[in-house]
Amino acid sequence: MPELVRLTIDGKAVEAEKGTLLIEAARQAGIEIPSFCYYEGLTLQAACRMCLVEVEKTPKLQVGCTLPVAEGMVVRTDSAVVKEARKGTREFLLTNHPLDCPVCDKGGECELQDMVFRYGAAESRFTERKLHVDEKQWSPVVYFDAPRCILCYRCVRICNEGMGVGALGVSDRGVISEIIPNHYDHLECDECGACIDICPVGALTSGIYRYQTRPWEMNHVGTICTHCADGCRTTLGVRNEKIIRGNNRDRSGINGEFLCIKGRYAFDFAGHPDRLQSPMIRQTGGFEPVSWSKALEVIAGRFQNVKARGGKFGIIGSNHTTNEENFFLAKLARQGLGTQNVDHHRTGDLATFFDALSGRKEALATTGDLYTAKAVLVVGSDLAQQHPLLSYQVRANFRHHNAHIYTVTIGPVREDHQSAGAVRVERGGEVAGAWSLREKLKAETSLVIVFGDAIQGDGLRKLVAFGDSLGIPVKYVCLVDYSNSRGAFDMGVIPRNGGMSREQMLAAADLDVLWVIGANPLKNAALASEDAFVVVQDLFMTETARRADVLLPAASAYEKSGTVTNVCGEVQKLKAAIKVMGAKTDLEIFGLIAKEMGLNLGIWLPDRVFEEIRKSVHGYNVPLPVVATGGAAPTAPLNGHVAMLPGAIQSACDTLFTSGSLSRYSNILNSVMEAPGAVYAGEKRAGGQ
């Protein structure tokens, strides 16, 4: 039972846990103590002096953001002295702050504006010349306007502590103090934009969003980022059917305010001019745009034909499509087309994973577990590049709870900085590397093991055996890439019961139909069957699309509803933010093809399909209210043994600035000058998207 402390704030009796900061205790009691530099989760500063309050029996005003509550404390946050102090501090702050509101992006969301409106001092007695320095651009993403900066140092702290990058610092002193980037005139960093979002004023603004709109003109849609498997909530700001910005300032979602550059800014692929907007049929000489009904007629006709004569289908599903789409596709393939040849680009050995952990409770870690576990072991992955949210959780766990972090990798990774044991191995030596940490790990009280694609098949079973040998509670995360690889596996887009794997389909010279949905297998591989009828559903004219006989324009994740399952098995709901002309969602396309073929596979509305999923897919009987209200529901598909699957497991080896085909069409990802992620990105192998 935590010890409670009783105190009085503004005459109100308040109870708070011992050790709570006064500013937090007040907030819990519904009393706001204004502050700029205080930020939950970052180190305390007491720099801005906005939170000064009166505490009985102390002569000087006390700093609310660093003072822990004490029994019997009597606090006044609304007395004349406090009001005067706040007004004075605000007046000081506004002396050099330029009156840029009309041209400043932050207008309408600015904490300084809010404070002035709430607490006064809009009129200043300052009649001297303000300090001025010109605005600077530090990178394609980050712009900095020094006069607007109030030197709260949130950006410095979030970059250093939160992100573990430390690309921002302070130069000079006194009133000419200025935030500077790590390369003096430009930034080389993750370009995540955390500094921009955390800035209370408009000193840091984003190159993508600048001057485009006012916040109240946008409609904000909270959906799940479509780039990596971490499943961050990104709240997209939409105006006139165009996505203008993304952030997660409302802290909804498993990621709180964390987002990487992909989640924050790389939505721009959706509006790329090369988006396919019409179904097309191959003729001699090129593609001819046709109507949807014509295209579907051709597809359905051919599918029925091949099915009737017992021909060979090959279906390659997507790592990005929703659970509903994957479920329906699996049904369409098996029941509708009578084929088991269904697969997707498998980036983690989930089959062995679920088999090895079969029947256990509490063996799967959620993203939250990475923040609360006493120890974390990272094997074979550069989390900061490939799973930035997981990296953030691990780092925050270290910072806030002094968790022990261990790494076993082929090269230096960011987690090495916080590591209680960093082991360097050659590829293939990961399990042995884990064993070398055994003594330290045995002494932990709980552990989460996170591992990449180097751990697969037999190696995965050995890793689980290692975990078991420690004699402590261990949870696991089998890393996969792309936004819904888990969903693709869980919904059955896998070659069960002797079906052909992706490689086998491409190599089969007698393949009659190759149906590719949201994937690009022909980027690095050839299709053996020259006579195969190729149907492709995608957003862009990829290498695979170029080979299509019928090409259908599909909608991206930001244009549809449905659910996706993240790398830790948490199911979250997508919400459509925009519509793109001509494109249809993959679910609708599947439904229309089924209808055209005269098949009855059920209603293809996302909500109805999800109901079916909850009833019939193992581990997906999640509470509907959790998912429906935007929460993350952990799935637990760990009962019953899973048959092994043919085909290779290969990570996408993405970095912060790549995400398969999608990133090729993101202007911002192609504008940044950094080229990080050498440790595992260099491992990109054939078969990737």
Binding site: L44, A46, A47, C48, R49, M50, L52, K60, L61, T66, A85, G88, T89, E91, F92, L93, T95, N96, R125, F126, E128, R129, L131, I150, L151, V170, D172, R173, G174, V175, I176, S177
Partner: protein, 427 residues
């Protein structure tokens, strides 16, 4: 070369070797009673050493005047972490020039004081943080330290007593704020010189998170005399609770500016008129900065006062760092205010809003006034803005900027008149 002619009115304790030939050499030091105190302290228990310092009523000579014995008692001697002695030689308070003399003319006395402190708190390593502008002094201090090492008075088994201690100098880089003890600690650790939140206090968690004893050069330099002759003897030189003597740096409109060692409680007018030879050209006294520019200034009428910590505090000012600046009737107090504010605006570390913006704003107002564009409301504004800084800043620099300004506005309002532009006449 001597610093200034000594005055027969001085009571020379810490400055007793000033003026001796080769006063800085270890031989001179040992020949004049040096290291006796250390040997004596080596036979004492740490609690006894601290008690002796408490009895002496020695208070911090850097400016804040905190009772030294009490500060020493805060260091957890039994902590498993290493304990550090840090000497604040960042002498930057305007008007102050005493620590430089102690380091130049009697460095071994300082070292002895450090070693006695080390015995009191079980420390085996210390750093002297010397302001970067004192480049020549760092060399002198290094030479003295090297001499001590060479002859066995630093390092292992000091003077055969079995005590180990290593001493280093560390250079500052031109920031007044690094004289603030926690900013000094950050600076020594290689970070920006920004002060830290207190608690934790340096005595408990200071340099590199370890218990740290941090005092001014003059404070450490007084310790050997206290141990050798007893705390009571030292205390009796001064007034109750304000023991001993201190180096007073008298500058400004006086015939004999210089550094003089006077007992605590010495009458200020006697110091000005007799020790410093009075004001030249027979002019009248107008104002005095009693102990460094961070103190409220005194009007001439207020200067008939005993110079110790408590008396000056009761009079609404401070004994401070001992940097006394005497100003005669020709002094333009507005220009004094501007000169002071330019210093604080330049030295503000920039961490907190009231000091960073306040000092800059005050400087701008004062500049504008001196240039001839002052308005009547500016005078009151100066006072109000200073009040908005007082007690609201992260460290004492904000107070140090506010207090002299407020005192000038309150006590010398008439000096502002000639800078005020006559109100525009509406025709």
């Amino acid at each position: 070369m001597l610093y200034n002619e000594p005055s027969p009115l001085e009571t020379r304790v810490v400055s007793k070797r000033f003026g001796l030939p080769n006063s800085a050499s270890l031989d001179t030091f040992l020949a004049t009673g040096g290291f006796e105190a250390f040997h004596k302290a080596r036979e004492m228990k740490p609690e006894q050493i601290i008690e002796e310092v408490k009895v002496s009523a020695l208070r911090g000579r850097g400016g804040a005047g905190f009772p030294t014995g009490l500060k020493w008692s805060f260091v957890p001697r039994n902590s498993p972490k290493p304990k550090y002695i840090i000497v604040n030689a960042d002498e930057s308070e305007p008007g102050t020039c005493k620590d430089r003399l102690l380091m130049e003319y009697d460095p071994h006395q300082l070292i002895e004081g450090i070693l006695i402190a080390a015995l009191a708190v079980d420390s085996h390593a210390g750093y002297i943080y010397i302001r970067g502008e004192y480049r020549y002094l760092i060399e002198l201090m290094d030479r003295a330290i090297a001499e001590a090492y060479a002859k066995g008075y630093l390092g292992q088994n000091i003077a055969g007593t079995g005590w180990d201690f290593d001493l280093y100098t560390h250079s500052g880089a031109g920031a007044y704020e690094c004289g603030e003890e926690t900013a000094l600690l950050d600076s020594i650790e290689g970070k920006r010189g920004i002060p830290r939140m207190k608690p934790p206090f340096p005595a408990v968690a200071g340099a590199w998170g370890c218990p740290t004893l941090l005092n001014n050069v003059e404070t450490f330099s007084a310790v050997p005399a206290i141990i050798r002759d007893g705390g009571k003897a030292f205390a009796d030189l001064g007034t109750p609770k304000n023991g001993g003597t201190r180096l007073v740096c008298i500058s400004g409109h006086v015939n004999k500016p210089g550094v003089y060692e006077l007992p605590l409680g010495y009458p200020m007018m006697k110091a000005i008129n007799e020790v410093a030879g009075g004001i030249p050209h027979g002019r009248k006294l107008k104002a005095v900065v009693p102990g460094g520019s961070s103190c409220p200034l005194l009007r001439a009428e207020e200067c008939d006062i005993a110079m110790d910590y408590d008396t000056l505090a009761k009079a609404g000012s401070m004994l401070g760092s001992g940097g006394m600046v005497v100003m005669d009737e020709t002094t333009d107090m507005v220009r004094v205010a501007l000169r002071i504010m330019r210093f604080y605006a330049h030295e503000s570390c920039g961490w907190c809003i009231p000091c960073r913006e306040g000092t800059a704003w005050l400087r701008k107002i004062l500049s504008r006034m001196v240039e001839g564009n002052g308005r009547r409301e500016d005078v009151a504004l100066l006072g109000e803005l200073s009040k908005n800084m007082l007690g609201r800043t992260f460290c004492a620099l904000g107070d140090a900027a506010a207090m002299p300004t407020m005192s000038i506005v309150e006590k010398f309002a008439e000096d502002f008149e000639k800078y005020l532009v006559p109100e525009a006449v509406l025709v």
